[in-house]
Symmetry: C3
Subunit: 142 residues, 3 copies
């Protein structure tokens, strides 16, 4: 469900950084949903292909987060979540002197499929099994 | 309208596979709308730039489908459509042992333009002409 | 806020073209919001990775515009804006014989963060300061 796209200057993150970041982002979501829901795409961009404010961006990280499995129940919940994400990102971005921007879009739960299955609703027995087994399987409840 | 982005391991699809997949995806939509509405982008991703569940993804295909020209009229219609898409994808993905995930987002019809034209509403005379000619042209109806 | 992704054939735009386009796009948004809100990503795509209507696309430019900071207040406002964008693009796309398609999606204002800040509402004193200084800073109003 969450699909992250991280646009970044080619030299911003090492392969180790990327693996760590993906793991830590997955930990945040994994506290409430199956870990295999979390996709993270890194898109290195040369400054000639990436502009912020009309200027080539060689110190900027832009993150797009598509949420499907969960909707924020309130503004406060979204603030807590985004603050936590900013804290996870800090050692890799802010602390290295990069600027960054992120936004979340929410897309329809019903128009989503994994390995041909339609994912179970949050906190159902089926989702609990998907989470425990960390893989999709046929639903046993409607 | 539909814009598909297919994130995949670099070796997952040959050029022939990609051309076939694009053709078959276009056939599905082309049954009800102009074929030239259908855009398909393949994005090969090295495992160090693509993580699922916090692990490098070398056997995973992630598909994002942006729908503009049509909204699903019902849950049942969306199920039929997504099941059909999963069947079209199977020989290229499931049958080769890849895991895959897809989701659809719907974006506003009115904020869409092709070659400077605003596309006609579904099933109007203008859309029928666009479809028959497989190209955009000035609208003759409001 | 606006994040543009411009999918284009590798040879469609020179580096000078890209810098000019990013500047002109930023000028349009900069008339009403901070210039640093504007992100533009160029994604060159080989024809074997980019299909329109089921055919490899070597003369097609596809633009995705994600809007966060402002929502269109009316259909008329969206038409004026998109017409203006099409006019800005024309010398680089239509006048060179390329086909093109664009669409706008609007995503939630509240789920957006820049350098750890939550951007101020349109036309507030805080936004005016962000615009005048062309950088984010701590909000002084709720």
């Amino acid at each position: 469900m969450p699909l992250w796209t991280i646009y970044h200057p080619p030299g911003a993150f090492s392969d180790v950084d990327k693996a760590e970041l993906a793991e830590k982002i997955t930990d945040v979501y994994g506290a409430v949903m199956p870990r295999f829901y979390v996709g993270v795409v890194f898109q290195p961009l040369e400054p000639r292909n990436f502009y912020v404010g009309g200027k080539p961006a060689d110190r900027f990280v832009r993150i797009v987060m598509e949420h499907i499995a969960r909707s924020f129940p309130s503004l406060e919940a979204s603030r807590r979540f985004i603050d936590r994400i900013n804290a996870v990102l800090a050692p890799y971005i802010a602390d290295r002197g990069y600027d960054w921007e992120l936004h979340v879009d929410e897309t329809p739960f019903d128009y989503w499929s994994i390995n041909g299955h339609y994912p179970p609703r949050p906190d159902t027995d089926d989702e609990k099994r998907w989470r425990a087994e960390n893989r999709p399987s046929a639903r046993t409840h409607a």
